[in-house]
């Protein structure tokens, strides 16, 4: 039996026919929409490599059925830069050496964007580490990752202050 769903992926509305209800959001993105920036690490919700934003919130796309997300708005790593202009969190990861091999990086960046939107951590390194604990990095780039989130958060705060001044 075929099920139809609509998704907005990185700003583009997509009508999708699912002939198998078992497809996760992760597999839909990677295998059917050719958005392979979102990575499959453990596929069991333990590593965070598959983190995306769904309706503005970060989740593990490996533990979400696509069929259950009709009408959802999805943002992946491919959807955050503006043309050649990197998203501030992407730029901060480069500036702070927030990665080595890069496999976990899309998930780290999407998780960091989610964390900043949640507004619970601010510029407290301990709260950032706690808030990013769902993203594992086997290269151990954690120090750079925390620095990158701190820098991105500081940039955002500064930009907000400029805007409200």
């Amino acid at each position: 039996m075929t099920h139809s769903i609509s998704l907005t992926v990185n700003g583009t509305r997509r009508e999708i026919e699912l002939n198998d209800p078992r497809v996760t959001l992760l597999d839909l993105l990677r295998e059917r929409l050719q958005l392979t920036g979102t990575k499959k690490g453990c596929d069991r919700g333990q590593c965070g490599a598959c983190t995306i934003l769904v309706d503005g919130k970060r989740i593990n796309s490996c533990l979400a059925l696509a069929i259950s997300h009709d009408d959802a708005e999805i943002v992946t790593i491919e959807g955050i830069a503006r043309g050649d202009q990197l998203h501030p969190v992407q730029a901060a990861f480069i500036a702070c050496d927030g990665f080595q091999c890069g496999f976990c990086t899309p998930g780290q960046i999407m998780s960091a964007i989610g964390l900043m939107r949640e507004g619970q951590a601010g510029v407290d390194p301990e709260r950032i580490r706690e808030g990013m604990s769902g993203n594992l990095c086997r290269c151990g780039a954690y120090a750079g990752i925390v620095d990158a989130v701190l820098e991105a958060q500081a940039c955002q705060t500064e930009a907000n202050q400029r805007r409200s001044a």
């Binding site: 989740i59 593990n60 998780s111 949640e118 619970q120 301990e126």
Partner: protein, 351 residues
Amino acid sequence: MKMFDYVKPATLAEAVAAAAQPGAAYIAAGTNLLDLMKGGVSRPDRLVDVTHLPGLDRIEHLPDGGVRIGALVSNAGLAHNADFAKAYPAVAEALLSGASAQLRNAATVGGNLLQRTRCAYFYDTASRCNKREAGSGCDAREGENRLHAVLGWSATCIATHPSDFCVPLAALDAVVEIEGKNGRRELPLDELYRLPGDTPERDNVLEPGDLIVAVRLPPVSRNFAAHARYLKVRERTSYAFAVVSVAAALQIENGRISEARLALGGVAAKPWRASAAEQVLKGATPDAANFREAAQSALTDAKPSGDNAFKIELARRVMVRALSLAATGTPARMPALPASVFASNSGALHA
């Protein structure tokens, strides 16, 4: 993953009818169920998706002073609801000490209550497990069992219930609202769960088609807001299940404890209410000696189910520390590391 039929009911009644069929299971976020299905541990023929059912995603402050939490409220949505976190700080702290931020954004209240044990032998389909396959045996008894139950276990099953959220809920007399084939009913959370006995394959008393629609906390639970903590020992600082955890909530009047609420996590197949310890504390002064006496009485019936005798003494010490933290007072802001023993003011009692 085994193929399944996908059903998306428009009403509660349709959902109950669809899920009452043999082989059917409800799915909300699926953060536990999909994991189990990928591993072949759960093999439903039909999934009944309840995520779009109306009216189940609200936090309602009731006229009597209680609160009603819809089953589809997310863990993060509840923990970060400012009014809720202020009134029930130990519940918010427990929620934020569980899983990861991504999982908390997806996982729901109802699903949290019904999550399955993380016993490795339950997950490993090559192992014998009476919970996964009734009557097949229990490889945990002679296996790696240092994290298994020390209370309420049986010869057939020594698994623990993994929820953090349920521990303060049990302490604070939460009530579960259930929609079933014969309409709506409610149960104290404590009566939702079954101890393993000879039938560990049944985690709870729910019947086919039963759907948890809400969890309520009674008006008196908010009287503990000034002295309520959750403390959780883990094998790493964050993103790990409890080795042992304690929810401690006190009312302190004129230097004495007028009411105490206590429950343990990670020690049994259900969140373990420590009623005897509460009685020890009622009317007592909030000091180390009384906390130790309470902790002693909470673990009177505990016995190791394997290489886990340490958990009994650990549970006593975590309870003493949780009580000490609760007596000190609920912090004005959620700690950076919720429920962690590594927090800057960890409540350690030194002789």
